[in-house]
């Protein structure tokens, strides 16, 4: 599997070249949110707003009213927590074209509780007019700008940085409200988002080898959450649905799927993997994913519980899995 670095940093510069309406706001995290190259290339379209996020969000709303599209970059926590009222009154209510790039979603940082955006999707999903996207690989990161920019209203993006795997072919770009169906099966529907998709793929490879028939769906649009293809997958499995998210199990992907199942009358058990109504702490990504049950072995155990079977898969087996690119289309052909 290919690992790319600084994907957003490079992509944003190329993408913004002929889009003079796009301006970038930095909250004193220029290097940390991969906009240093943008600043270098387009100094006239880069604005430093400092450590003053409430002002930064309202400022972005004001600029959007006059025809520009501010791309606000900072750590997610400093937007949806520190400046929620500003997002609501200065951006969401007037339905303005502001793009919010929230970095360090979930437990992606050793920075601890102050830096970990564990409930951003849950909080922002309650805002009318808000579109919420999440990236899970390099292709998602490259194509999310087009998806966001096509929305006539505010967009929040859970963004990845630094080293990112390419799970999906570069040509298979993210689409608004359309999930990526990675495999189709009849036992279990597995719905994952963000970094959990890569982690889940380690387990699904081995589970498939053990004869488990899994529908694996990668979600990139948290709101609106109405992909008919996803609903169809949920309705087509017999034993249960499992969600896996880098977020608390309250208000995020697990809740979205629960709502969808209820609305469609899908009456099978739902298992939600994620932070179980708890804050986290500062440690490595791998350590925290294991501690909070967001790793591949946790998914294997959850699958065993749903199916009431044991597969004799251990952590060494999972560590040995080598991932290759997953193409939705290729998987379809394989079926």
């Amino acid at each position: 599997m290919e690992i790319l670095t600084q994907v957003h940093e490079k992509n944003l510069v190329a993408w913004a070249k002929d889009r003079p309406e796009v301006v970038v706001f930095s909250g004193d995290l220029t290097g940390s949110t991969e906009i240093g190259l943008f600043k270098q290339h387009y100094p006239d379209r880069f604005f430093s707003l400092g450590m003053a996020e409430q002002n930064m969000m309202s400022f972005a709303g004001g600029m959007a009213r006059d025809g520009f599209t501010p791309f606000v970059h900072t750590f997610a926590v400093f937007m949806y927590r520190r400046a929620l009222d500003q997002i609501e009154m200065s951006i969401a209510y007037p339905n303005l074209r502001v793009r919010m790039f929230g970095f360090l979603p979930g437990i992606l940082t050793p920075g601890g509780v102050s830096h970990q955006a564990i409930n951003d999707v849950g909080v922002l999903r309650t805002l009318p007019n808000m579109t919420i996207l999440e990236t899970g690989d390099a292709t998602d990161v490259e194509s999310v700008l087009d998806v966001a920019q096509a929305v006539d209203g505010p967009v929040y993006v859970r963004m990845l940085r630094k080293d990112i795997p390419r799970l999906f072919p570069a040509a298979e770009r993210m689409q608004l409200g359309r999930s990526r169906i990675l495999s189709r099966g009849t036992d279990i529907a597995l719905v994952t988002a963000g970094i959990c998709t890569e982690e889940a793929l380690r387990a699904t490879t081995l589970l498939a080898a053990k004869g488990v028939s899994i529908s694996h769906i990668h979600v990139t649009t948290h709101k609106p959450f109405d992909d008919p293809a996803l609903a169809q997958q949920l309705a087509s499995v017999k034993r249960g649905v499992i969600t896996m998210e880098n977020h608390t199990t309250v208000g995020g992907l697990g809740t979205e799927v629960a709502e969808m199942m209820t609305e469609h009358g899908i009456g099978i058990p739902l298992t939600r993997l994620g932070l179980r109504d708890t804050y986290a702490h500062g440690a490595s990504r791998e350590y925290l994913m294991k501690e909070y049950g967001l790793d591949a072995i946790s998914l294997v155990r959850a699958t065993e519980r749903v199916l009431d079977q044991r597969f004799n898969i251990n952590e060494e087996d999972l560590a040995g899995v080598r991932l290759s690119q997953f193409s939705g289309e290729m998987q379809l052909e394989a079926l």
Partner: protein, 303 residues
């Protein structure tokens, strides 16, 4: 128009508009059994000067009688609030109302300057009307949605930055209340306006020294305001907020490279001295008895 209004000076006109704002606000307070009256009394002269002299704006683009509430902002729905302040054009100024609780004073100013029909005030705070008590961007004269305090100055910064990039000559005027100086975001905003040298922003602040719980000096002191704004990088002018000529002169202060802040010290009972007796609890005025209503009705007749 009578011949006397055709020959009146701008100061006379502004004075007349200010008096009209006070009269209409008191009338609404009586008719609607409650209103943000003291805010209208303290700000009447500031708004009168803005609408008659300071603002470089074109004629209203909105109907004299505002249509009912048409829904929250969504693609394809054009809100009329800002249209009452004239067409949006590069050379024109913009007025951004930060203290949305002053809506009644703005509506009255629009009526007094011929931008809104007097009958529109009958819909003030009526169900389904866009002439709301606190208002949002569908309400006459309001470009922003600002009932949550301290956000307009930051939004003004965004508008001003955009206008600078587009090389527009029009200025961005903000009307604020002094209570908003208790909000941290106000200082974040001044800091950013100064840092980005946004000298196309001018701010009138109604320093009436009063907030919901009572006197600002007792609830949360904000003084010395002039020193604070100066320290944050603004050019500051302090005026008597009921001195029409001083209010106008302040707008012409040179402030190259910095935002302009005009501190207007005002009295919440100005023009209706009867109200002095109710100080300092004047945030929202509702008369308590028929006898009290009658006293104010008598007062209104003489205004």
């Amino acid at each position: 128009m009578s011949s006397s209004t055709q020959t009146e000076t701008w100061v006379e006109r502004a004075t007349r508009v200010a008096r009209g704002i006070r009269r209409r606000a008191l009338q609404l307070t009586i008719e609607k059994n409650g209103c943000y009256l003291s805010q209208a009394l303290s700000s009447a002269d500031i708004l009168a000067v803005l609408y008659t002299r300071v603002l470089n704006i074109g004629p209203s683009q909105a109907p004299l009688k505002p249509p009912p509430f048409a829904g929250v902002p969504r693609p394809g729905l054009h809100h009329l609030g800002a249209d009452y302040n004239g067409p949006r054009a590069p050379q024109y100024d913009r007025l951004l109302l930060s203290a949305a609780h002053y809506a009644v004073a703005v509506y009255a100013a629009l009526v007094e300057t011929g931008r809104l029909a007097p009958e529109a005030l009958a819909d003030f705070n009526a169900d389904g009307s866009s002439v709301e008590m606190i208002g949002a961007e569908h309400s006459p004269g309001m470009e922003l949605t600002t009932g949550s305090f301290g956000q307009a100055l930051s939004q003004a910064g965004g508008v001003a930055l955009a206008r600078r990039l587009k090389q527009e000559s029009g200025k961005v005027w903000v009307f604020m209340s002094d209570g908003e100086c208790e909000e941290g975001q106000t200082w974040e905003a001044v800091q950013a306006l100064a840092h980005h040298r946004l000298d196309n922003v001018g701010v009138y602040i109604d320093v009436n020294g009063q907030q919901v719980d009572g006197l600002t000096s007792e609830v949360m002191n904000i003084e010395p305001l002039a020193d604070r704004f100066t320290a944050f990088g603004a050019t500051v002018v302090t005026v008597d907020g009921h001195d029409i000529e001083a209010l106008e002169r302040a707008a012409r202060t040179r402030h190259a490279g910095t935002p302009l802040v005009i501190l207007c010290y005002t009295n919440t009972a100005c023009g209706v001295d009867l109200l002095e007796e109710r100080k300092p609890n004047l945030h929202y005025v509702r008369f308590k008895s028929e006898a009290e209503v009658n006293r104010y009705r008598d007062y209104l007749r003489k205004m």
